[in-house]
């Protein structure tokens, strides 16, 4: 049952990806100026050179031809080369992708580690001081712009206390090895991960709390309590398992948001990841790189959606696979 279901969902994802790629391609084409606008403005570039470049990059072909060429290239691993550096797009992306994925993964893990216990405890002690404090903090967290939070952290921990490094991923002044290198990397990651995890943690805490509250009011929880099960088991096993179903969906859907949020984080802390590459390429109108990053990000969205559906299916046997 689960097998064919997954295959069907995979097949449904294909037209979705096509649609996304067409929209992204059209958006890039509609931009005035075109990819060579910045070069055309320079007097040193002759019209002949522009003409040659246009031919070289296939910019004079009709749009559908350009799209199919590009799509065919994407399928076969040829993502084009950066107009700016001449580096193959796939290479530029794979160089920076791990950094962003590590940042995203750590932030996701941290937000789960904080949100699950806080949300569960807040729900089991509804209207307690702890509940009010955590709810208030989650509301504040959701409204906090991550770049402001980052800037304030920088002021306190880098400027005032001089405890944490303000930028980059490694200490460029000293060459660290072994454990010292790990420690150095950890110090550099603390603030970026905290900034990225903030909103996800706040959102998740709220969802987990309300999902737990919903489940704790159900009859089967009362039955479990009434039959004398220890409270710990009632909460973790009977309530927690059911409350986790909607939470898993929300949590999974946060992964793409975290990935996109990394743009801001990487900018504040000058971390050379995908987000920084994207902003840089957008300023230069480096179309092949932009297309490549957008496709990676869209793939991530589609894959997490798919994974969410599958996990949901395993968690909730009531879901029909028809």
């Amino acid at each position: 049952m689960v097998g064919p279901y997954i295959i069907r969902r995979l097949l449904q994802a294909i037209p979705l990806l096509f649609g996304i790629s067409i929209i992204i391609f059209l958006m890039l084409q509609m931009a005035p100026g075109g990819p060579l606008a910045s070069g055309e403005a320079q007097a040193s570039v002759t019209p002949e050179q522009i003409e040659k470049l246009r031919g070289h990059y296939g910019l004079d072909d009709p749009m559908p031809v350009q799209y199919l060429n590009w799509l065919g290239g994407v399928m076969t691993g040829d993502w084009g080369t950066s107009y700016d550096t001449g580096q193959p797009v796939l290479e530029a992306i794979t160089e920076r992708l791990p950094t962003t994925l590590v940042l995203t993964g750590l932030a996701f893990a941290i937000s789960l580690l904080i949100a699950i216990p806080v949300g569960v405890v807040a729900a089991t002690r509804q209207y307690s001081a702890f509940d009010y404090a955590s709810t208030g903090l989650s509301f504040a967290g959701i409204a906090t712009p991550s770049f402001w939070f980052g800037l304030m952290l920088l002021y306190v921990f880098s400027f005032q206390l001089d405890l944490l490094p303000s930028s980059g991923l490694t200490d460029l002044r000293v060459e660290h090895t072994g454990l010292a290198a790990v420690w150095d990397r950890t110090l550099h990651l603390i603030m970026p991960v905290a900034v990225l995890a903030l909103i996800a943690t706040a959102n998740l805490t709220r969802y987990i709390r309300s999902s737990m509250l919903e489940v704790l009011g159900q009859d089967y929880v009362r039955t479990a309590r009434g039959s004398g099960l220890p409270e710990r088991r009632v909460i973790l096993q009977h309530a927690g398992k059911n409350a986790s179903i909607p939470v898993v969906t929300i949590a999974m859907l946060m992964i793409p948001d975290l990935f996109l949020g990394a743009v801001i984080t990487e900018t504040i802390f000058s971390i050379p990841g995908m987000g920084a590459l994207f902003v840089h390429s957008a300023e230069l109108r480096d179309y092949p790189v932009l297309l490549g990053i957008l496709i990676i990000a869209a793939l991530l969205v589609v894959i997490t959606n798919l994974a969410t559906d599958v996990i949901y299916g395993f968690l909730d046997p009531r879901i029909s696979y028809q």
Partner: protein, 303 residues
């Protein structure tokens, strides 16, 4: 927590008469203290950014070396920047832009979302299917990247930023309106209107739409918060309005080295605080409206 809406159990309103939806909503909304607080603060902020720049004795664009980098004082409540400009004055004119962009983006998104949702829900069948697939595609687009892209490629004008934010924000409204339309179009009052010969346009605009707006209003309020955050992020990345124009995100972007290298904390604290307070207020209002408009939502449940 709160009692469900409906006939009061006696006491507060002795003579029960039929109340309009608006009055009933307001009555529910008023009980949500945080939402009322949010409404008051957002109202004050709007007034402040509208008339404030004329009231304070500093020109937000005037460069004055003698007043550079001053901390907050009674003269300069929020301090000054490295060019000697009063930060409160800059925050007020910047807030004007931020709020105007966000409001415009939400309105555009609302119009698009209502139109798509209404057509999909009313037409049903193939049209509905097609439009909902388009919604799916827009949901799967990497939002912030697309906004950055559009603004970077087309150039950071007011309407580019509004459009870029709106392009990524209409889908929720479309889904909400569609599902309302799907259920409302089967109702007797719609059938009655059709029987007496009302046109499709009249049925949609006059009979169904007003009944489908409640969830949309909530979505729009929360949309304002979202639009403010997107605009601020864009400006923080240096891709929004260009200097000397600066929205709150832009002020933070300019402040980065002052805060981190020279420790001028006021440059970072106040613009961010404005975003925070505004977004928080909009979220509270949205929550209050949801509880007031939707009798099934958590806030109206007993216990």
């Amino acid at each position: 927590m709160r009692l469900p809406p409906g006939p009061p159990s006696g006491g507060d309103l002795p003579e029960e008469t039929a109340r309009s939806l608006g009055a009933e909503t307001w009555r529910q909304f008023r009980r949500h203290r945080l939402a009322v607080g949010g409404l008051v603060i957002l109202g004050l902020l709007t007034v402040a950014v509208t008339v404030g720049p004329w009231l304070i004795p500093f020109d937000p664009y005037r460069i004055e070396a003698s007043t550079a980098n001053l901390g907050p004082s009674l003269t300069h409540l929020m301090g000054t920047d490295e060019l000697g400009r009063d930060q409160l004055a800059r925050i007020l004119v910047g807030g004007r832009l931020t709020l105007a962009v966000s409001a415009a983006a939400v309105l555009v998104a609302l119009v698009v979302g209502v139109a798509v949702g209404a057509v999909a829900g009313y037409a049903g069948g193939f049209v509905d299917n097609l439009l909902m697939r388009v919604v799916d595609i827009f949901y799967a687009l990497p939002g912030l990247f697309i906004v950055i892209l559009l603004v970077a490629l087309i150039g950071p004008s007011f309407w580019t930023i509004v459009t870029a934010i709106a392009v990524l924000s209409w889908m929720n409204t479309a889904r909400l309106v569609r599902s309302s339309f799907l259920s409302l179009k089967e109702k007797e009052f719609v059938e009655a209107a059709r029987t007496v010969g009302a046109s499709d346009a009249r049925i949609v605009l006059r009979h169904i739409l007003p009944n489908a707006l409640s969830p949309v209003i909530v979505a729009a309020t929360l949309g304002v918060a979202n639009a403010i955050l997107i605009e601020s992020s864009l400006s923080f990345l240096g891709l929004g309005f260009q200097p000397p124009e600066a929205t709150w995100g832009g002020l933070l972007s300019e402040a980065k080295s002052s805060v981190v290298i020279t420790g001028h904390w006021w440059r970072g604290l106040f613009p961010g605080l404005m975003i925070f307070v505004t977004v928080l207020s909009a979220n509270f209002i949205g929550d209050g409206l949801r509880d007031a408009l939707d009798p099934r939502s958590a806030g109206n449940k007993k216990g």
